[in-house]
């Protein structure tokens, strides 16, 4: 009886300790959540302010006047509506690069997974090693080479290099090995279907989730790219959002922030990140699944 009593007291103590530990953990996590989300909150609040209010009101709360719609209309009309142009460019570059890169990576990854051919291991090792080559070592010679053939300052200069996704090939090889059963391919071959038809009408359907993962990551990579367009584009009408916003910011800073450019950069930043955030929230399954692949198999 006494023993049982003691045990239950111990258990109670343990429960209490657990409860305190749990509470402390939650407090810490909430503080970190505030840290990660505060800049977004600041961005939303600041997008509703006029330029003088940015300086005069407290940064983390709304100013008396709700100026978001004025800022938005300024954003889309400033400089002859160049922001809309940048938005369109970014979408265009990202869609072309993502669709192209993921299609190419899927075919290549599938081939590495399902075909035996001489040079397979060597070529794959080179592709894998290239993931580690720093982008800088590539960007400047890419600029020089493209300028030699006159492709500088064209949309193709941004899209073509973005079509190469070594990590996508790696991901799709892993995915093909796990998801596509060899028996299914053999059944197709016995039925007399050609390899191209087997890939197109049998394998690609099974590979769709992996394909979407690579699509999403290439899309985000191109949407967020700054270094490559900075080197390759000089005409503002070809700029993507990142480059355009950075150029407005540079102008605003050079002029001491006196005019409305700061509110434009802030409102523009808000508009530019909304599609990505929405995309990530809706396609959770795909990016989380894709990252599982990358980490487990490495």
């Amino acid at each position: 009886m006494a023993v049982r009593m003691k045990m239950s007291v111990d258990q109670e103590k343990r429960h209490q300790q657990n409860w305190i530990l749990q509470g402390l953990t939650m407090v810490c996590l909430v503080l970190f959540l505030v840290y990660f989300l505060l800049p977004f909150f600041w961005l939303i609040v600041s997008a509703t302010k006029t330029n003088p209010e940015l300086f005069s009101s407290f940064g983390l709360w709304f100013a008396p006047n709700f100026n978001l719609f004025n800022n938005l209309s300024d954003l889309f009309t400033n400089d002859g509506g160049v922001f809309l142009n940048w938005l369109w460019n970014t979408t265009y570059y990202a869609v072309c690069s993502a669709v192209g890169a993921s299609l190419i990576a899927t075919i290549a990854g599938y081939t590495f997974a399902k075909f035996q051919f001489p040079g397979r291991n060597v070529v794959f090792a080179i592709i894998l090693g290239s993931i580690m080559v720093p982008g800088t070592a590539l960007a400047i010679p890419t600029y020089l080479l493209l300028s030699k053939i006159g492709l500088i300052n064209t949309p193709l200069a941004v899209i073509l290099p973005s079509l190469v996704s070594p990590f996508g090939v790696f991901l799709m090889r892993m995915y093909s090995e796990q998801a596509v059963p060899n028996e299914l391919l053999d059944a197709g071959r016995v039925d007399g279907a050609g390899e191209i038809r087997i890939f197109w009408s049998v394998a690609l359907r099974i590979l769709a989730p992996g394909f979407v993962t690579v699509l999403l990551f290439s899309f985000v990579a191109t949407w967020n790219n700054y270094f490559l367009p900075l080197l390759l584009l000089s005409n503002p009408s070809y700029y993507p959002l990142t480059l355009g916003l950075a150029s407005w910011n540079a102008q605003a800073s050079a002029n001491g922030g006196a005019q409305l450019l700061y509110t434009l950069v802030i409102t523009g930043s808000l508009v530019s990140i909304i599609p990505l955030i929405v995309g990530f929230l809706f396609l959770q399954r795909y990016w989380q699944g894709g990252l599982t692949f990358g980490s487990v198999k490495s």
Binding site: V123, V220, N249, L276
Partner: protein, 319 residues
Amino acid sequence: MKQPPLEIDDPGFTASHRAQKRAAVRGSQRWSRRVGLSYLFLAPFLLLFLLFFILPLGYALWISLFADRLVGGSVFVGLQNYVHAFQDSNFWEGVRRTALLLVIQVPVMLVLAMIFALLLDSSIVRFRTLFRLGFFLPYAIPSVVSALLWGYLYSPSFGPLTQVANVMHLPAPGFLTASGMLASIGNIVTWQYTGYNMIIIYAALQAVPSELYDAARVDGATGWSIARYIKFPLITPALVLTGIFSIIGTLQLFNEPQILSTLVPNVIQDHYTPNLYAYTLAFTDQQYNYSAAISFTLGAIVFVGSYIFMFATNRRSLR
């Protein structure tokens, strides 16, 4: 297995030999068609890979061996640009700076990411989806936008952090000063990539079969020892992966200092990071040859750094 030598005049020989040969020819035809098809499937990727990866690398290596002279134009100088790079204090200042960030910021970020992943994988935390998405969200936005955002948050004229300090009659924090800048950049990078690394580690944890935990619990293991002896070894590959990505990313740091330099040009000079230096050399000074040599040296440092890291972690996980 050795076969007896075949007799040529054996009547069965020619027929079976012919059949064998025919099969072999058909087989090799199919084989070569397979090889051709494999490379046909790979052709789009390999072509672009050659054009936008191998070719630029080779070209950079090639031009890094030349120098533009006032007299005589482009001259072959061998490794002279590399010798120059090794003696260039501007370059090494940037390397030292990014290396400092690497040894301080990256461990902090990865330890945070690991703790978050372990917590979100355990049952003691509620609202796990909220935390997972909230922590990951900064990764979804362009690094240019996060640098702009934090640049404004740091701003001494309208940044809320300075406003809070003013209200509390504290000295304004020197986020954008020469001494505070590296820490401020480190904070931006930590803010942006902790959640991404957390998700990679979390994904590795999710792949662990739950029977393993049940078995450990039956054997009387506590939450802590499960984390230490089961979960930690299983996420080591994911940690190595995130470590390598962080080494590559940090040594190549460019966007954040480049954006912040527009706010405080006198704090972030044109050689603040090696990458910024290579960019300035190429596009402001038109020294393409030397810039290529700098890029290559940086690439070599990244490569060596990643390999040392991989080697060190491999040995440790073997032990």
